[in-house]
């Protein structure tokens, strides 16, 4: 007699039941991403038509400086676009999906004891978890991926009139919206809803707890993890004192410093002296004394690597949340 603890076939059957019972909530998740995506799509089309032939120029000219000389450019920049607000608002979508679509149906399952109906039908806890979370995560992932792809298309042009993200995708707003990272956030938010709903059975409280947890992780990832990641193995190049910019406009500047002939950093006395000189005088002094101004930066072609790293961390966190939910299910004596 086989002692198999669970069967994938039964989990799939549970998933079909979840699709059927919660098709409204799943459609809501899709709609949640589709609506802003539609707005973004509309604005992107408007931008491209306002630029005319300039848009093709912008995509080939990495600097945008040549294209910026065209007269259509000023008209394009002076129009008011919703760019900044839109992109920032879209970062909240994963949390909204989890709070309004994920949490309520889970807390209701536990509150009403509907969850126990699966025992009548011989469905075990692990199969319930997989069969419930599976459709949820799949819908969220697909919706987030599509939203992310639309965002990326829009961002190519939208990055120019925006003041919020001038660095070619490194700032947290566009970083969080590329497909892989958006999927990571969405799957994590939905996975977070599971243990939260299990621990906090009341719907409104659970939604608040989910928001709090997500906000904490959001802050940690965007202002600790990312900063730490991008500080690893930076590229070094010569810069022009005292400009704090990286070689290319869409690289991420980390820091610049003046290095003396021995290789060590220039003292504050030297820096103070250079501050009193004009630009050309300072250049001459630096060359004469064999100093060199170096900048540490992350090249633009590494951006995607970082995006995938953060997405991987988020998916690992989602897996941890799912395991926590599994553990909680087993420990709770009434379940």
């Amino acid at each position: 007699m086989t002692a198999a603890a669970w069967s994938p076939g039964i989990a799939v059957r549970m998933a079909r039941v979840t699709w059927y019972r919660h098709r409204g909530a799943l459609a809501g998740i899709a709609g949640l991403f589709a609506l802003p995506a539609a707005v973004v799509l509309a604005e992107g089309l408007a931008m491209r038509s306002a630029l005319g032939g300039l848009s093709r120029c912008l995509m080939t000219d990495a600097q945008g400086s040549v294209c910026a000389g065209w007269p259509a450019w000023d008209g394009f920049l002076n129009r008011s676009w919703y760019v900044d607000d839109l992109a920032q608002a879209m970062n909240v979508l994963p949390l909204l999906a989890a709070m309004f679509a994920g949490v309520p149906w889970l807390t209701r399952e536990f509150e009403t004891g509907n969850f126990r109906y699966t025992w009548v039908q011989g469905i075990g806890r692990r199969e319930w978890l997989l069969g419930t979370f599976g459709p949820l995560a799949a819908t969220g992932a697909v919706a987030a991926a599509v939203g992310g792809l639309v965002f990326g298309w829009w961002y190519q042009i939208a990055q120019w009139p925006s003041s919020a993200f001038p660095y070619g995708g490194w700032s947290w707003v566009p970083f969080g919206l590329v497909p892989e990272v958006a999927v990571g956030w969405t799957v994590f938010a939905l996975a977070l809803a599971l243990p939260v709903a299990l621990l906090v059975r009341r719907t409104v409280l659970a939604m608040a707890a989910c928001a709090a947890g997500y906000s904490a992780v959001f802050t940690l990832v965007n202002w600790r993890l990312r900063d730490w990641l991008v500080s690893l193995a930076p590229a070094i190049a010569r810069g022009h004192y005292p400009n704090q910019i990286a070689p290319s406009w869409n690289d991420l500047f980390l820091r610049g410093w003046l290095a003396g002939p021995g290789g060590n950093q220039a003292s504050s006395r030297v820096v103070g002296k250079l501050n009193g000189l004009t630009g050309t005088q300072a250049d001459r002094w630096i060359a004469q004394h064999h100093y060199v101004y170096l900048v540490a930066y992350q090249p633009h072609d590494r951006l995607q690597l970082f995006q995938f790293s953060v997405a991987a961390v988020l998916l690992a966190a989602a897996a941890a949340m799912t395991l926590a939910a599994c553990w909680l299910l087993r420990r709770h004596p009434a379940e």
Binding site: M1, A3, A5, R13, Y20, G113, F115, T118, W119
Partner: protein, 292 residues
């Protein structure tokens, strides 16, 4: 087939043993009444049988050797608890569809026929049915997946007498037609004699009684005799309980014939169960189980 087999089964929650040293060997095809005071371990035993909790000690097997909670066991075991679980926001026919999606061996015609016979409207939401109808619906959904063991943790407790009778009738019909084994945790002692064919009495986490109703009724007698002989009775026959009222004494004893000086009559299930419940140290267990 031995539908439930337990050897030295125990379950501990923190430092409290909810079940201790339980031995059971229940053949298939019985309606097992599970009786005992609150906190005696009835729900714990049912949860162990359903595979919702794992034993802390000993060994438990269901359906002739399956481990409870394994896929094979869950296919043949249904567990209905007190709250009569249903998806209450779904219509009855959607519930049937959902149940069909959940079970490969679903017998839809049986379920539909039964619901039609009971007059349960198929288009209504489950939450808007009466308590009795919900119980019948939950039972139908459990039975139509053709389990071989049905575990009921007092799910009929909140029903009015008529609804309870109807639900019991449905249950008994399934037992007759499909050879279903049922474990029914119940407080309603008077109905046990009509409904149960096997009795398990739990007390303080231990098995006090585990035998077929027929053998229990054959091997026990209600005795009446003079109160002055009451003290000596225990030396003559195994006594379960003895009580005195004036010059007369009444006793429940495990014997086929009354000893001299006493008058015996067959005992009812109600008297038997109440007698054992009053005397938690008394035991009526079968002999050593056949080892395989």
């Amino acid at each position: 087939m031995t539908v439930i087999e337990a050897q030295r089964l125990g379950k501990r929650y923190r430092n409290i043993w909810a079940l201790r040293d339980c031995g059971l060997s229940v053949p298939a095809g019985h309606v097992v009444a599970l009786v005992g005071p609150n906190g005696a371990g009835k729900t714990t035993l049912l949860r162990l049988l359903a595979g919702l909790a794992a034993p802390s000690a000993g060994r438990l097997r269901v359906l002739g050797g399956c481990q409870p909670g394994s896929v094979a066991a869950r296919e043949g075991v249904s567990y209905l608890d007190q709250q009569m679980p249903l998806y209450r926001n779904l219509r009855v026919r959607d519930l049937l569809r959902v149940a069909e999606a959940m079970n490969p061996r679903w017998h839809g015609e049986l379920a539909e026929a039964r619901l039609a016979a009971l007059g349960i409207p198929v288009r209504r939401k489950a939450g808007r049915l009466s308590g009795g109808q919900q119980a019948q619906l939950a039972l139908t959904l459990a039975i139509a997946r053709r389990p071989r063991l049905l575990l009921l943790d007092e799910p009929l407790a909140s029903l009015d007498p008529l609804a309870r009778q109807d639900a019991m009738a449905a249950l008994m019909t399934s037992v007759a037609e499909d050879g279903l084994s049922v474990v029914l945790s119940s407080h309603v002692v008077p109905e046990l004699e009509r409904v149960a064919s096997y009795l398990i009495v739990l007390s303080g986490g231990r098995v006090q009684v585990a035998a077929t109703v027929e053998s229990l009724l054959d091997t026990h007698r209600a005795l009446i005799g003079p109160a002055r002989d009451a003290a000596r009775l225990a030396e003559q026959v195994p006594v379960v309980t003895v009580s005195r009222a004036g010059r007369q004494a009444q006793a429940l004893a495990r014997t086929a014939a009354a000893p001299s000086g006493w008058v015996g009559r067959p005992v009812t299930m109600e008297e038997l169960v109440l007698g054992y419940l009053r005397e938690p140290t008394a035991r009526a267990l079968p002999g050593p189980a056949v080892t395989r």
